[in-house]
């Protein structure tokens, strides 16, 4: 990869790694939360809904700062985690945490919509045939929402790739350690004569984003056909 400088290359690689782990870890939780929001009635449902959507409406800097307060080494959760050797602040893991939280509402929304599109009568039929709640979900709901889950995951991945504000606030912009694609572009733009580096990363961002979008369309379409049984 000689057309990319080591710093550019490490920013791309780090962004891919951060987005991958952010998506992977938030996916199960997002499916669970989406299912709860779509199918259950309980006290405080609106509150949960609000908390899930908070990162979407708060300024990302605020989210990043809140993360720093709670997950920083002197924060209540960060302090506890440090004792078992897990540190988020100013590490790439922290960038993954920030990206995951910022992408979470998008993922939940996509999955919740697809769960609401599943006919509850099919889930009832499954229950009368002996499936417990878990098995109803695993054998009927999950297969039927798979296109929505894929779409939500890819949307979240793309969002994680582009996360800037919360990331730079929480883990700063350390080349080779916490510098992701967008923060690298920002850094290059601050340095006179580094526009070419910035432009190369911009092109790479566009390519990754477009490929993700096309890939998700193709997969979702195929799955939708299979789910409809054709």
């Amino acid at each position: 990869m000689d057309w990319l400088s080591p710093q550019e290359w490490s920013a791309v690689a780090l962004s891919l790694r951060v987005s991958f782990w952010a998506t992977l870890f938030s996916l199960p939780l997002a499916i669970f939360v989406a299912h709860v929001l779509a199918r259950r009635e309980f006290l405080g449902k609106q509150l949960l809904n609000g908390i899930v959507h908070l990162p979407l409406i708060l300024p990302p800097v605020v989210t990043g700062y809140l993360l720093l307060l709670t997950f920083g080494t002197r924060g209540p959760i960060g302090g506890l985690l440090e004792q078992v050797g897990i540190v988020f602040a100013f590490r790439w893991e922290g960038a993954a945490l920030a990206a995951g939280i910022m992408a979470f509402p998008l993922m939940v929304r996509a999955i919740r919509l697809s769960i609401e599109a599943v006919d509850p009568k099919l889930e009832q039929a499954s229950a009368t045939l002996g499936a417990s709640r878990f098995w109803v979900f695993a054998t009927v709901t999950l297969p039927l929402i798979l296109p929505g889950v894929i779409a939500g995951a890819i949307l979240a991945f793309a969002k994680a790739m582009g996360e800037f504000g919360a990331t730079i606030t929480f883990v700063s912009n350390i080349p080779g350690q916490t510098q992701t694609l967008p923060t690298a572009i920002y850094a290059f733009l601050q340095v006179p004569g580094a526009e070419n580096s910035a432009i190369r990363l911009v092109v790479i961002s566009i390519v990754i984003a477009m490929s993700a979008l096309i890939l998700s369309e193709v997969i979702a379409k195929r799955l939708a056909l299979r789910v409809a049984g054709r």
Partner: protein
């Protein structure tokens, strides 16, 4: 095995308060829309939790408010055939069939899958997906899926309502076979008098959330006080044996010694069948009629007269063949001087034959298209 049901539940605009027993065979919950049929089935299935009541199969309690016991649907060992089939669209027919069996207890009696596939005639479509099936095919798969779950109780909520007459005629025999071959109770919701006449062992007639009549099919259908769908749908059900086939295209039935002529039916001599005679197809005469085109005249005694809200009245007549219902005007009741215990002749315009068992030829009627036998 017997299913016992006692339920009470208040909805904002509807009160359900029922109690009945369903022995082996088909128990039809019979009533118009809004009578509470589906609510009862869903409560038995556990899809709805009633305010109070008790549901048990023999001494196995599915639900009992007195003991605060409520089994969730998946632990009730059901086979529920829904009106719309509700096959899983992402699974093949074969996988749909396997679905219930997968969750059945490991020590459950294994219904022979091959036998059920053959009985329902779904062998050729096992690899297909539900989206490519016809309505009748879907319903047959749904029946198979319910049976293969090795249920302790089969529920069917108007399983034929979404089908046209041809498809209905295609599915009905399978329920007849279930009734005759399966030992578990079958709770079957219907608002169709002809389905009731054809399938029911026991009838629970429902009106406005209450049981208006409960008993063997012939008894309930022959009782003018219990007409869940109003006088227009009233009719009697007779048991008959195929007695002779005549060269002029008619078949002769023996009903308790009385003879009935119907258009040729494709049953062997000696075969027992059910005959439904709608009340509006029966006219009454005080004297033995002469010079009439009607072939079937049964002498009898009037057992009950029930005047309706309109100009009509329903008359029950005990004949040699069984109890018949006739729907005539109140003016005719007065003109003929009909009273309880009076002798009269029932003249039957139309006999709708509801053939039982398999190999029935549906061109002969099946109750959905009554034959004309003048």
């Amino acid at each position: 095995m017997t299913l016992s049901v006692t339920l009470r539940h208040s909805f904002p605009d509807f009160e359900l308060d029922v109690s009945f027993q369903a022995p082996a065979g088909v128990t039809v919950l019979f009533g118009g829309s809004g009578s509470g049929k589906t609510t009862i089935v869903n409560a038995v299935a556990g899809l709805l939790r009633p305010q109070s009541g008790r549901v048990c199969i023999d001494d196995w309690e599915l639900f009992d408010t007195a003991q605060n016991r409520w089994l969730p649907p998946h632990r009730r060992r059901l086979g529920y055939v829904f009106q719309e089939g509700r096959l899983f669209p992402h699974l093949t027919v074969s996988q749909n069939l396997a679905y219930g069996r997968w969750f059945a207890p490991k020590n459950a009696k294994r219904e022979n899958r091959g036998r059920i596939v053959e009985m329902l005639g779904i062998g050729p479509i096992l690899k297909r997906y539900p989206a490519t099936l016809s309505g009748g095919e879907k319903q047959r798969v749904a029946i198979g899926r319910a049976l293969l779950a090795d249920p302790k109780l089969i529920l069917a909520d108007e399983p034929l309502a979404a089908l046209d007459d041809t498809r209905k005629a295609e599915i009905l025999p399978y329920f007849e076979r279930l009734r005759d071959e399966v030992s578990v109770p079958i709770l079957y919701v219907s608002h169709s008098a002809s389905e009731v006449a054809r399938l029911a062992t026991t009838v629970v007639a429902l009106q406005d959330g209450r049981v208006s009549g409960h008993g063997p099919a012939a008894e309930i259908l022959g009782d003018p006080m219990i007409t869940p769908l109003g006088a227009r749908a009233a009719g009697a059900m007779l048991e008959a044996t195929v007695f002779a086939h005549h060269a002029d295209g008619l078949s002769e039935l023996d009903a308790g010694g009385a003879r009935l002529l119907v258009p040729r039916i494709q049953h062997d001599l000696g075969k027992k069948i059910r005959v439904r005679i709608a009340a509006q197809d029966v006219i009454l005469s005080r004297n033995a009629p002469k010079g009439l085109s009607a072939l079937n005249v049964l002498p009898g005694t009037i057992a009950m007269i029930r005047a309706g809200d309109g100009p009509g009245a329903i008359i029950s007549i005990d004949t040699q063949a069984g109890r018949l219902l006739a729907r005539i005007t109140q003016r005719s009741v007065a003109a003929l001087g009909l009273t309880n215990g009076a002798q009269c002749h029932a003249i039957i315009k139309t006999v709708a034959v509801a053939p039982e068992g398999l190999g029935a030829d549906f061109s002969a009627g099946a109750g959905t298209q009554p034959d004309q036998a003048y």
